[in-house]
Symmetry: C3
Subunit: 336 residues, 3 copies
Amino acid sequence: MGYSLQEIAKSIGARLVNEDPKVPDISGVASLGSAGPHDLVFIEGEKFLSSALESRAAAVIAPEKIAGQIGQAAKVFLLAGQPKLAFVRAAMLISEHSADHQLGVHPTAVVHQNAKLGLGASVGPHSVLHNRVEVGARTRIASGVTLGAGVIIGKDCVIHANVTIYPGTTLHDRIIVHSGAVLGSDGFGYVLDNTTGKYEKFPQIGKLEIHDDVEIGANTTIDRGALDATIIGRGTKLDNLIHVGHNVLVGEDVVIAAQTGISGSCVIKDKAIIGGQVGLGDHVTIGEGVILGSGSGVLTGKEITGKGEVFWGIPAKPLKQHLKQLAVLSRLAKEK
Amino acid sequence: MGYSLQEIAKSIGARLVNEDPKVPDISGVASLGSAGPHDLVFIEGEKFLSSALESRAAAVIAPEKIAGQIGQAAKVFLLAGQPKLAFVRAAMLISEHSADHQLGVHPTAVVHQNAKLGLGASVGPHSVLHNRVEVGARTRIASGVTLGAGVIIGKDCVIHANVTIYPGTTLHDRIIVHSGAVLGSDGFGYVLDNTTGKYEKFPQIGKLEIHDDVEIGANTTIDRGALDATIIGRGTKLDNLIHVGHNVLVGEDVVIAAQTGISGSCVIKDKAIIGGQVGLGDHVTIGEGVILGSGSGVLTGKEITGKGEVFWGIPAKPLKQHLKQLAVLSRLAKEK
Amino acid sequence: MGYSLQEIAKSIGARLVNEDPKVPDISGVASLGSAGPHDLVFIEGEKFLSSALESRAAAVIAPEKIAGQIGQAAKVFLLAGQPKLAFVRAAMLISEHSADHQLGVHPTAVVHQNAKLGLGASVGPHSVLHNRVEVGARTRIASGVTLGAGVIIGKDCVIHANVTIYPGTTLHDRIIVHSGAVLGSDGFGYVLDNTTGKYEKFPQIGKLEIHDDVEIGANTTIDRGALDATIIGRGTKLDNLIHVGHNVLVGEDVVIAAQTGISGSCVIKDKAIIGGQVGLGDHVTIGEGVILGSGSGVLTGKEITGKGEVFWGIPAKPLKQHLKQLAVLSRLAKEK
């Protein structure tokens, strides 16, 4: 019930130091404070070395660069170039043993006769798969999920409980969608009828397409396109309670923190990093690799570019300029 | 399977120009970029005329005022005073053919014996209608919806999957509620007991009433009144992830963008336009036709008035004043 | 069908004045404007005395200190030291009669054979209780709720419709969770692999523990810890659409208003009061009894302390300083 340190070291590409045959097999990962004798922990530098040595952990993943400080410590180490990443890989290896879900289609699920399920796919209690839904191999649909007509989901995805996916939405492979998320809902678009003064609903009949390896947080909402598509690129990670409006194009490996709102027709390019509670007006472009601080706001139609550069504030400006404005205001208020 | 251009022109009140018997019937609407040979597109001015002519669309809805520029173009046009509105009407006409839902009550739905369903109303899989619920004619309740005891919904409404409506809430006619929305939940009110230092829950037993033609976005929450009612007026449109607190009174034809938060007892009058991520403190009044920029904040108890006037910032002030403050701060930071 | 004024006075510890045998039994509580002849209302001071006298209410809860002004008024009064609190207690007494839910496990619920239900616990239609779930005595699980494997819920809780609780989460006693809330979802943590430029998911395998008397608003999300735990302390109240990140520690009797976002590893100490749409960066500490104004922002790693002191703005600063900055900026913009 677990993995030997040799197996783990080999699997994650780490170097085993201070090997000790008395150390038991590893069955979990943990923090320094909570680790037990079957757990693996990690440190990213010398700072937490003494805590690691005092922990109850079976072994410690640590950076190669502190090999010299470890010496003959009474603890087994796995040394790696990227210790946190090695820890992630070890956790994945171990957790493959502990899946706690049922295979197959639960008898209370309502699956349309035209829906197609891949090999090893599962559908939980009370989920609903409408006409022409396709679910890929090994994808797990939890309970209370609704997949609208024509929804296509790739392989190895996890759709958590009470997610709703509107008709026609496409998800590719290895996507995780957390509970309460709503994918493919109507965008917010109306036309004011000048003669009656009333709003008429503009058609929201575009698609939503989500590419491989995306993760979507709890209660996040992503609207379908109005006439064209909303697209979320490969590897992008969205936190909880985010709003993505219609026709938004998000690139690859983008990270967006909780409660950020992205208005219609924005373009967010690859590897951008966007903090929490950021607000983007319509038709904003965020360039490749831009870093937008939490709570920033970008006005309608603006473009922000600069790989690796940090922008902050409302309206968002280069970090240095933002800090200077804060400092000036603070000083003026003290003077007067 | 579709409509002739003559039928569409007549239905939406547009003037047909450059008629061409070879043009096939119309079965959809689309954007200029995605249109196929059976699709209708629209332009709002001369700017996109050449794109429209190059598109694969069967015909183009355009403003009457550019009739002169069209000439003998090799494309059929439908000219209208409000082209975008004409496009909306055409889309509605065409989409009536394409409904993809089942009529009647799904066998897995749990409908209380005292619930009443109007003619042509439908209830999807795993939805729950408690005691004394009433659903009007042709209203569609999707899957996984819970309607609490005494909920009344009018006719021609659409309640999308996984919506929750608390007991006693009333919805009138032609209302759309998107997935994950929660209507009529308890407001946030407590009384601090001075002797114990603990909070006691204040009764949240008022109602929530939503009038005709309202649309409510995904995962938006609207609390019931504490002792009185929360009311959303006719024609008002709420985007995703909005919070509306207890005892709020929203007028008619109000538009509120995503993630805005409206604290308890606010009053928002007719035709106000409120951007995304706006925050209103308790007991704020927003006057008729006021426009509040995205990210603005209004302090508890304040009133903002001025039909058609734009306010912005935290605290919200007239746009000109807000821009001046931004400019002054920016200049001072550059000087020092 | 109701309570006599004598019974209510005794139960809530109030003094009955101007007793009148013609006044009927009390069956509800209401606002001054909506009260009928069987309702109880309350006022907190002399200001609303005339409205109370003109109301149709059977009796008025009022503060002891205005006993002198009541005289021989043609209305029965219940005088109390904390009238709003007395009103809350009266409402609780009366509402115990009006529960409108079914006992037991609904036949459409899916309850794992290893799940345990306490005496008088109920499970609504289409709810799902996975392996090893425990639900305490008299706790009510509404419809469409999913409780993951190993979820433990104490006694006298109310879990409203369409709530999702992830595996391993623990809730103690007398907790209310409103619809659409997601408890125990994965936190937002990734490790960038320097060699591929891609993000790998950091394990999110810690727990979420929620203590007695907490109330959680609609569509609020609380993430489980990454390796350790996220904890919400006794008596704390969370409004709608709040985000609480992984490893956050919230103390006792904390109040947090709607749409506030709390990033990972924050510590919020007892009796803090946090307004709506506040944003806290990672590893922020909010001291005991601190009051944070709505829309404030606190930067990563900062600590704010001062019992009963008010902080406001982005970044949050003492109220006086914040107001001075606003005033200075406003004056400068007028001058130039």
